[in-house]
């Protein structure tokens, strides 16, 4: 039976880096498809949920359609597949380029889902062990930690505004923009207050006392990490060479 290996977050970062670089560098649709399959396999093997990828993708469907049409209309090359009057709405070249964009998108999203299988705390620790300055790493920690809280506050604030008798759906667009600008004030106040309090609390616990600090936790690569990293580098190089050959 397959047992989900616990990969070091740094290994996961490297895999994600390899896969998303491939997504950006490669143009060939078939190889992109292969990269996608590999990415989905990696998601599955590291214990991620593939349906998660698809559920995230749903939101982008209309954008994908728009991309295909825009590519077709503006490149104006290739054979028309759907044509309205004189305008080639969908062409084979447009479709191909659209497909390319979609696949790239797909891969990047799947790679992001792979990253969510890592504990954010370990990712930060990984970054620190990769010599990322710890001040920066803590900024990321705090951002991740407080984002849900801010989201909740933003919802409360929006609700409070509507309870004042402002019906956002019935306001004309220009006025609606002005209405939204009113939301900035409470959100900014909250962020400023929180960050001031947090930075004081951190300083009172000796944050930035020295350029270095110790870590209670330390991450260590295991055999499976080296294997996974070697494999992803190998695939990265192979596919890149293959893509060059195809062009």
């Amino acid at each position: 039976m397959w047992q989900t290996p616990t990969l070091d977050p740094r290994t996961k970062l490297l895999i994600v880096l390899c896969l998303s670089s491939l997504a950006v560098l490669i143009k060939n649709v078939y190889i992109l498809l292969l990269v996608l399959v590999l990415t989905l396999a990696a998601v599955k093997l590291t214990g991620g949920e593939i349906w998660h990828v698809f559920s995230k993708l749903k939101r982008f469907i209309s954008i994908f359609l728009a991309v295909i049409i825009l590519q077709s209309v503006f490149t104006n090359e290739g054979q028309a597949i759907v044509q309205v009057m004189q305008v080639k709405l969908i062409t084979d070249v447009g479709l191909l380029r659209g497909l390319q964009t979609i696949l790239r998108f797909f891969i990047v999203i799947a790679a992001a889902v792979l990253m969510t299988t890592a504990n954010p705390r370990d990712i930060i620790q990984g970054l620190i062990q990769w010599k990322v300055p710890y001040e920066l790493a803590f900024m990321v920690t705090i951002a991740i930690r407080f984002l849900p809280l801010l989201q909740e506050e933003a919802t409360d604030t929006l609700t409070a505004l509507q309870l004042r008798g402002v019906n956002l759906k019935q306001i004309p667009i220009l006025k609606r923009l002005r209405t939204y600008s009113y939301l900035l004030m409470p959100l900014l106040t909250s962020v400023l207050m929180k960050s001031r309090d947090l930075s004081v609390a951190m300083e009172m616990r000796a944050f930035r006392a020295y350029p270095q600090r110790t870590s209670l936790r330390e991450l260590q690569f295991s055999g499976i990490d080296y294997l996974a990293m070697a494999l992803s580098m190998l695939i990265f190089l192979l596919l890149l060479v293959a893509a060059l050959g195809f062009n």
Binding site: L161, L163, V166, K175, P186
Partner: protein, 221 residues
Amino acid sequence: MISLQDVSFHYKRGKWVFQELNLEIRRNLITFIVGPNGGGKTTLGKLMAGILKPQTGMVLIDNLNTKEVPLAELGAKVGYLFQEPERQIFANTVREEIGFVLDLREVPPAESKAKVDQALAQFQLTHLAALSPLKLSRGEKQRLVIAAIMVNQPQFFILDEPTTGLDQERKAILSGVIEGLQQQGIGMAIISHDQSFVQRHAQQLITVAKGEIVDVANPNT
């Protein structure tokens, strides 16, 4: 009257906070909701104001179902004061804070001004009208939020931990505000863990713990 009928609620991806809860809040009594932190007091308050919608069952505010009526209309029935007043202060001056919603709704300027002046006076904010709300003390911010909500003339007011961060003198001012609102015929549900404050004002006392109403009492009657 606010009535909760067989209300069940859970947050996204969370456990049930309430299951099949039934409760009525009448306008002629000041109701206090008490109980330990994390027992669901704030959730209950938000359900009563229509800020959160139950997954099953319904919340009726004067017979309007909170699931069916837009928030903007509920606002004419019920006001909600968050624990942190900063969360619901939107404008750059005290006067604008009370008036901007009226302007957005295109209330005639003369009428809007009259309403704002009246609210400023009622909540002892006239001398602060030109200031930025950020310059106010916590108690003043709270009164500002209450004043801004009161221009909509809601029938109910739900207050979440209004005494947090207030010293005794400011608590006394808040007590005055609450008594004033009751004289105007406004029903109130107040979430609080401030025992002396509860003792002073509670006419109905609802104890909530672990998602259940463990006690309903009518002190002082």
